[in-house]
């Protein structure tokens, strides 16, 4: 038995002229949760689809539970939640889950699972008439019903309301507690921070950072405050020590990063007093994963 649930080494995948994945390495130890974090088009789905055996990489090596991801013997051991779900357009939710359950030796009880996912009321509703969130939850049920050792979830909370999102988080935590390995993709920072043992940030088909959420966010301190947008920061910069950088990343939200000590806080509040503005929500803390993410992947919107 191999140590890792998933082992990806220098994997490349091209679609015509575009390189979707340009040499990704990642490793998911058994029983852990790994979040693949990245902006749209970063190569998250392509990476997961190669791990799930839907796509063959152009080069590099991929091992899932110690086996070739395309291997038929792997199928019963792995649960997959593809992006956007998957079912016959006319099939009822309960029928679809029963069909997937029939493919497993010792499945979870389908009616119980439908109930857990809040789908009991929609059990007889045809798939194409389920809401996006219901389709997403049915897809999750299909991924879990066979009691897999390893689950791939591509954007498991996309399109879910806050309650359903919380439920998915609880499920992932329960899976982890019961020894199931989970590889999920997300572009939500709080999701990665809350769920994952390890986070791999990818952008442009490459890994740009990886580590535990704590390790990724400890470097450097930050002081944040909100006040009137568009203030001139020249005077404040001059008043701060050279190690500090001040910026207004989004209108009205100001950020001082660097060595934040009591003098820095004092300088900021004094400057606000000079400007005649009140600094609201002023707080000092470590960087969030979102800060790390934006720093690494840039702030411009992707198509």
């Amino acid at each position: 038995m191999s140590e890792s649930a998933v082992e990806v080494a220098d994997v490349v995948k091209r679609f015509g002229p575009t390189t979707a994945v340009a040499g990704v390495d990642l490793s998911l130890p058994r029983g852990q949760v790994l979040a693949l974090l990245g902006p749209n088009g970063a190569g998250k789905t392509t990476t997961v689809e190669m791990c799930a055996g839907f796509l063959r990489p152009d080069s590099g090596s991929l091992r899932v539970l110690g086996m070739d991801p395309m291997s038929a013997a792997l199928r019963p051991r792995v649960g997959v939640m593809p992006q956007g779900g998957g079912a016959y357009p006319g099939v009822r939710a309960a029928e679809m889950l029963r069909l997937v359950a029939a493919c497993a030796r010792d499945p979870l009880d389908p009616p119980w699972l439908l109930d857990v996912l809040g789908l009991s009321g929609a059990a007889r509703t045809p798939y194409k008439r389920l809401s996006g969130g219901q389709q997403q939850r049915l897809s999750l049920a299909c991924a879990l019903v066979g009691r897999p050792e390893l689950v791939f979830m591509d954007e498991p909370t996309a399109g879910l309301d806050p309650q359903a999102r919380r439920l998915v988080w609880d499920l992932v935590s329960a899976l982890r507690a019961d020894g199931v390995s989970v590889l999920l993709t997300t572009h939500l920072m709080d999701e990665a921070e809350a769920l994952a043992d390890r986070v791999v940030i990818i952008d442009g088909g490459r890994v740009v950072a990886e580590g535990t959420p704590a390790a990724l966010t400890t470097e450097g301190q930050m002081l944040r405050f909100r006040t009137r947008p568009g203030l001139d920061l020249t005077l404040l910069s001059a008043a701060l020590p050279e190690s500090c950088v001040v910026a207004e990343p989004s209108p009205g939200a100001y950020l001082v990063s660097g060595e934040v000590d009591p003098q820095v806080v004092s300088a900021v509040t004094a400057w606000c007093a000079q400007q005649g503005v009140l600094a609201e929500e002023l707080r000092v803390g470590r960087r969030s994963l979102e800060d790390v993410f934006l720093e690494l992947t840039g702030r411009e919107l992707r198509s």
Partner: protein, 254 residues
């Protein structure tokens, strides 16, 4: 929500093949027989033609008319469900990601195909029973039922392979349009409504090579007590095998 410890403890394994086949084929057959458009195509139109062509002499047919009409309607039923219905369903199944979903379960690929084949045979069996009962009420006097069953089965496999070839490769809307056009053309000019022998001779020699003409001619021979000639079996098998081999290269999951 909290879950008792051990709720999701891994216990992976594949289901029993026969149970997988049964549930998969049952699901597919149920979906077809529950879908209004599919029922219109696979049952109502063939029944309307059976009754209409038997009672209204719009085209010249040997008497008793019902004995000439029934084999043609049975061939049309196979074309409707195994080819047109199958292709359209597959086109939209791919759109909705069901093949990917099932490919990610323990269901082996051969069972995925076999389940669809069994479902297709079940639907054709239902069609054949309903059409035969109505034909008997109209005074049909068949013989050679065993040959009929064999031809319907081979015809289902042949047209099923052609349906998968079409539905597995193109966009759902294109599949929908093409599958209906092919259905209409084969119905009128493919040796079904107008027997191959009644077509102009140049056209007849081409049409005779089509699976629709082969199935219609075979069923007509069988149900009037004859033995369907070898050419019928060869034509259907060749189209089926050719389409099947091609489809394994062109069918895409999404």
């Amino acid at each position: 929500m909290t879950f008792p410890s051990g709720t999701f403890t891994p216990a992976p394994g594949a289901g029993r093949p026969l149970r997988m086949l049964w549930v998969h084929a049952r699901t597919e057959a149920t979906l077809t027989l529950r879908n209004g458009e599919q029922v219109l195509l696979t049952l109502l139109i063939p029944l309307a033609l059976l009754i209409g062509l038997t009672l209204v002499p719009v085209i010249a047919l040997p008497s008793p008319r019902v004995d000439a009409v029934t084999p043609r309607v049975l061939a049309l039923a196979v074309l409707s469900s195994a080819f047109t219905g199958q292709a359209i369903a597959l086109g939209f199944d791919r759109r909705y990601g069901v093949l990917k979903r099932l490919a990610a379960t323990a269901l082996p690929r051969w069972l995925l195909v076999l389940g669809r084949v069994v479902a297709g045979l079940v639907v054709v069996a239902v069609q054949a029973v309903v059409i035969s009962v109505v034909a008997l009420l109209l005074g049909w006097s068949p013989s050679g039922l065993l040959w009929m069953v064999a031809l319907l089965a081979l015809g289902t496999l042949c047209f099923g392979a052609l349906g998968v070839l079409l539905g597995g490769a193109l966009k759902a809307e294109v599949v929908l349009a093409l599958a209906n056009v092919v259905w209409f053309v084969l119905l009128l000019a493919g040796g079904i409504v107008v027997a191959t022998a009644d077509l102009p001779s140049g056209m007849a020699s081409v049409v005779a090579l089509l699976p629709s003409a082969a199935l219609t001619d075979g069923l007509t021979t069988a149900l009037s007590g004859g033995v369907p000639p070898l050419s019928v079996w060869v034509t259907l098998t060749a189209w089926g095998v050719g389409a099947g081999v091609l489809a394994t290269r062109t069918t895409r999951l999404t």
